[in-house]
């Protein structure tokens, strides 16, 4: 019980997010209206994904330094949950944009034509596909040590690809999506209203902790599975 305080904290933060996220006063933005509350869910998916990918990257380096199998398992599982969060972020983004970005003067098809050119969407898609290739590469190698080493090296490459694809290029280009060339509304204290930040930061922590919890469960399951195989 003492060891699982962070799981309880994560759950409490999420309960707080779900209640306060729907009840607090939010800025009255004519384009977003109530959908601005999606900040506590959609954006937190991406933050969770980035943090999980960072953990996966660190464990990949630790594997290469120590050659301990546990780091390899951990690196793989953190990347897996990170991809899950990324896919959820993409799906929630797709729902959100179809209500706020669609131009009512054009047909849906023509609106989609401009949305599909969004640098943020393309960058996020590239990042997710690079990580998807990580899973494919990993599972295609039979030898355990070779698989661990090659996938750890590829993981470092995939992490390096996050920099141009989601942190640099989308920030340089104009976009409908916030957080482009006009600044960073998620992290700049002057941008989001203080009320929203009150929920936003706990929400990031809560979602990330839940992601880490799922990843640790998967790691423990994988270890049990491999012990069973070696018996």
């Amino acid at each position: 019980m003492r060891k699982s305080w962070w799981k309880i904290l994560g759950v409490l933060l999420l309960v707080y997010t779900f209640i306060a996220g729907l009840l607090i006063e939010v800025p009255r933005n004519p384009q977003l209206q109530e959908t601005i509350r999606n900040l506590f869910f959609h954006v937190c998916m991406w933050f969770g994904m980035m943090i999980l990918f960072i953990v996966s990257f660190v464990r990949a380096i630790m594997y290469l330094r120590t050659n301990k199998h546990i780091h390899d398992i951990a690196s793989r599982q953190y990347a897996g949950v990170g991809i899950l969060f990324g896919v959820l972020g993409y799906l929630t983004g797709a729902i959100w944009m179809s209500y706020t970005w669609i131009d009512s003067n054009k047909s849906i098809f023509n609106s989609f034509d401009t949305i599909a050119r969004e640098p943020k969407l393309i960058g996020a898609a590239i990042a997710l596909l690079v990580y998807a290739a990580y899973l494919v590469l990993r599972d295609s190698i039979q030898d355990i040590d070779k698989r661990a080493r090659i996938s750890a090296v590829y993981n470092i490459f995939a992490f390096a690809m996050l920099f141009p694809s989601i942190w640099i290029i989308p920030r340089l280009l104009d976009s409908l999506h916030p957080g482009g060339s006009e600044g960073n509304p998620a992290l700049d204290p002057g941008s989001a209203s203080p009320n929203m930040r009150l929920v936003f930061y706990p929400a990031i922590a809560g979602w990330t902790l839940i992601g880490v919890w799922i990843a640790t469960l998967k790691i423990r399951m994988k270890i049990l599975y491999e012990q069973k195989l070696s018996q």
Binding site: S4, K7, V11, L14, V15, F18, I19, L22, L23, V26, R28, N29, P30, Q33, E34, I210, W213, I214, L217, R220, M221, L224, Q227
Partner: protein
């Protein structure tokens, strides 16, 4: 010139009107229906968390048994 000023004033007026009359779900908050939504999403969250807790316990048991 007068025309221009009136046009400008009108544009300004519509802008202000738009900024203030942003339609939000105020009614939902007033009649308390927003709590129904919160109850539903909290139930889903509770279900998912309970699932995770059960999974955690099961794995702990397996780890002890070996």
């Amino acid at each position: 010139m007068k025309k221009l000023i009136t046009i400008f004033a009108l544009i300004l007026l519509t802008f202000f009107a738009k900024a203030q009359d942003v339609k939000m779900a105020d009614e939902m908050k007033e009649n308390g229906k927003i709590y129904v939504v919160i109850a539903v999403i909290l139930t889903i969250l509770a279900g998912l968390i309970l699932y995770l807790i059960r999974l955690d316990r099961k794995i702990s048991k397996l780890e002890k048994n070996k």
